[in-house]
């Protein structure tokens, strides 16, 4: 009897969970479906769910338009560039704070976190004016700098929580075995912390790819990543649902894939280790 009851419970919960899951996913699903419709079908009065003439026309149009590629490329350069530069700064810092802590370490960590709490509008004007004066407006370099700095605290924190789980005895053993600090980090720390470093990299690619304050404010046409490019569809003349859907699908696909890979580490990174 109890087994039958458990089974019924499982079926019920499964149905409920799937309903909720599909409902939440639906806008994305609908976007993906619409991207395969013709513009006419996309705005049809009785929208069809699956039974329409599937077409790749929208993707062809988008991809033939060189503009899309250049924005896609901007997104890649900005997110990957800022994540790699960030790692290069964050790894030594996290190493030092995890393995050679001093009495200021905790304060420094908290202070770094506090920079993340600073609302961007608080520094909007100076950054805008400085960028204007240094000719950084609408450049990829400028955005790489900004993305690196806004995500640096998260990177350091994430790496710090990963490094702290590595027993310091292993590093001490390397030091006893004649390793210099450099080879201690390269041959021992980095390989052991590789999973943590990889997920830090992934999370920061996601955050930088999706960042939509500075990318919208500091770029125009030349250096605009996909966030800013897609935003340009908001003007009435850009109202082509199918093409918008195709552009959106292409813009979110890489991050959906990366995101699914790093979902476990996401929690730790986004809560600064408060929830593991």
């Amino acid at each position: 009897m109890r087994q039958a009851q458990l089974l019924r419970q499982k079926v019920l919960y499964s149905l409920l969970a799937w309903t909720v899951g599909i409902a939440i996913f639906f806008p994305i699903l609908w976007t993906i479906l619409t991207s395969f419709k013709t513009e006419l079908e996309a705005v049809a009065n009785d929208p069809s769910f699956l039974f329409f003439d599937w077409t790749l026309e929208n993707y062809k149009t988008i991809l033939n338009e060189s503009r899309y590629f250049s924005h896609f490329w901007n997104s890649i350069v900005i997110s990957l560039g800022s994540s790699v530069v960030g790692l290069l700064i964050a790894i030594p810092a996290a190493w030092a704070m995890a393995f050679v802590p001093n009495k200021h370490t905790k304060d420094v960590l908290m202070w770094m976190l506090s920079t993340k709490m600073l609302p961007p509008v608080g520094v909007l004007i100076p950054i805008y004016l400085l960028f204007r004066d240094f000719d950084l407006l609408d450049t990829k370099l400028g955005l790489v700098i900004v993305m690196t700095l806004i995500n640096l605290p998260i990177m350091i924190w994430m790496l710090y929580t990963y490094f702290r789980e590595i027993p310091s005895e292993v590093l001490e053993a390397a030091r006893m075995d004649g390793a210099s600090i450099g080879s201690e980090i390269v041959h021992v720390l980095l390989p052991i912390a590789l999973p943590g470093i990889a997920s830090t990299l992934l999370l920061n690619i996601i955050l930088a790819w999706n960042e939509a304050f500075w990318t919208l404010i500091l770029t125009a046409a030349k250096a605009a990543p996909l966030t800013a490019f897609i935003a340009s569809y908001s003007s009435p003349e850009g109202l082509f649902y199918a093409k918008l859907s195709a552009a959106s699908t292409l813009a979110i696909a890489p991050i959906l894939i990366i995101g699914w890979f790093s979902q476990k580490q996401l929690v730790r990174g986004l809560t600064f280790g408060a929830v593991k």
């Binding site: 292993v170 001490e172 006893m176 075995d177 390793a179 390989p191 052991i192 590789l194």
Partner: protein
Amino acid sequence: MGNITLKQVTKNFDGHEVIQPLDLSIENGEFVVFVGPSGCGKSTMLRMIAGLEDVSSGKIEIDGQDATETPPAKRGLAMVFQSYALYPHMSVRNNIAFPLKRTKMDAALIKDKVEKVAETLNLAAYLDRRPGQLSGGQRQRVAIGRAIVREPSAFLFDEPLSNLDAALRVNMRLEISQLHKDLKTTMIYVTHDQVEAMTMADKIVVFNAGNIEQVGSPMALYRHPVNKFVAGFIGSPKMNFIDIEETVEGQPVTCMGVRPEHLVLSDTAGTWKGKVGVLEHLGSDTFLHVDIPGVKLTVRADGNCPYEYGDEVYVSPIPNQVHYFDSIGNAVCNESIARTTASVSSISKTADS
């Protein structure tokens, strides 16, 4: 060579003195055990010898050279850590080869040396495994192999057996002792386990609260502890302490110590009369916990001990095996039979009344 000399070495953490000025000399080839309760400074001392911690003042000499400022890698010492500290991402082979690779040694020579070490430690079959695929004892051997392969002038062991289960611990204890006999290299071994200290050491250094309490051979410490702390720390089960008010050889004593193995039981007569409490049968021995007025005594009897819970017995110390301590815990001469008997009889009166 592996002479290590500590001269007036101290360590401060945030103004708190964890090692008070300390002198010690370790001869080449000696097996020295640092023993003491946790937090006594023994591990800190070992890490200072290794170079993983700074000394706050004083000097560390290795083979007559001042090594106080030498970085750990240049001291020619090898260390085996409590957690083994193996490199989890490397095979056993690469773990053992790691220190050699840092010296830019010829690859063929490294391979040779690693395989030789693996042979002596029975690790040859596991060379291509990762540490995660090994048992605790095997990991311990890899850690030792990584230390041996460098042919250091001294080995430092930081509680290396405390992560192993009891049976394996006894085995590894023997293996390390055997290794010392074979290599004849200086070894400094930190433990909180006095059994390890007693069974392995040529020389035991007893630490307590940042101080060295006593240095000596295991039997010297067992027979002639200089104070109550060492007397209580060395030997298992613990020495019995009985508060007394007495004068021994013209000095006032406040405490008498007798080891469980130096107490004899009798049905008919003895120094103290008491009741048998819990009995622990170990097969070869029996430990009896006897309640006498005012104090509980642990008594070691042989395996066929006839007593049972609740029996009445008489307990007496073997006359020349009694230790006396003064009010600050220092030992007062414990050689004379005559004085011992005299004072024991006087205690028995106080205990009876």
